[in-house]
């Protein structure tokens, strides 16, 4: 499935990122908030579920080539993070649901 399918299927809020980024293929998922763990464990193509919406999260998304960042439980998304995400073509989505509930539903679709 693509990031766009994810957005449509789960009515996700798109905080940042254009049509190009939305065409990326989602091949897996990773849940985590400690950036060092994510940095060394998340895989290319993952949908990364987290509450960390700061500027360093964008750096981690670029390093790991995840398909998108999905902020859970309406977590905050910083202004400087948005700027960095735009510069790097990182798509950032948001949902009011928690990571567990979202991950279960996303896993069913993959």
């Amino acid at each position: 499935m693509t990031v766009q399918n994810l957005i449509d299927d789960f009515s996700l809020e798109v905080l940042c990122g254009g049509a190009d980024a939305a065409q990326k293929e989602v091949t897996g998922g990773y849940c985590g908030d400690l950036l060092s763990w994510v940095m060394s464990k998340a895989q290319e193509g993952d949908c990364w579920l987290t509450v960390m919406g700061n500027v360093n999260s964008i750096g981690v998304a670029v390093m790991t080539d995840v398909a998108c960042i999905l902020l859970t439980e309406n977590a905050a998304f910083d202004e400087d993070a948005k700027l960095r995400a735009e510069q790097n073509g990182v798509i950032v989505l948001r949902s009011s649901e928690n990571a567990f509930d979202l991950a279960v539903k996303i896993a069913e679709k993959l």
């Binding site: 400690l34 060092s36 940095m39 060394s40 750096g59 390093m63 905050a76």
Partner: protein, 216 residues
Amino acid sequence: MTPYNLVNLSALMGMEAIALTDHNSCMNCGAAMRAGAEAGITVIPGMELCTSEEVHVVCLFEELKAAEEFSDYVLSTMPPIKNRPEIFGTQLIMDETDKVLGSQDILLTAASGISIGSVEKLVDGYGGVCYPAHIDRSSYSVISNLGMITEEMGFEVAEVSPMGNVDDLIEKHPILGRMKILTSSDAHRLDALPPANLSLHTDNNIKSIIRHLKNR
């Protein structure tokens, strides 16, 4: 922000003592201390350690050698993730005239393997003092990441950012009422350096400042 510029601008702004606390590294402290000796300002060797829980802890040392040994130890606990300069910038090591001596390839923004519960004793063993950084902030702070400060962590001091409301913090976390509260600039750029604004009632030398913070 380079050692020579940092030290000399701080001196111009009226500061008598500063601490250089790079992220997970003390490799620029020697340069800053030598520049400080020239400029007539005390430079305390230090580090902003990122614990395994991604909590930032300021570590200050009496001796440069101990700081550098601590720095080597911290590096040995870091995950072997290479820096990507296009994302995080280069991690330069400089001399006291800002000449580039080299760079660190391991990504220093990653978390070390040192836990919040072990850091106070560890730093004390290197002749230093440490305290949780910017505890009012929503990221990389002991309160945001762990929800509380406990006696067992062993901290005598806590740092609050200039935007923090100390009274509110003490009300929510009574343990802070028994701790020394410092406000530091946490300046990451030269233009964020504030005028001198923190007074410690102690002699202006590294040993006295560290002992003052340790209540010894």
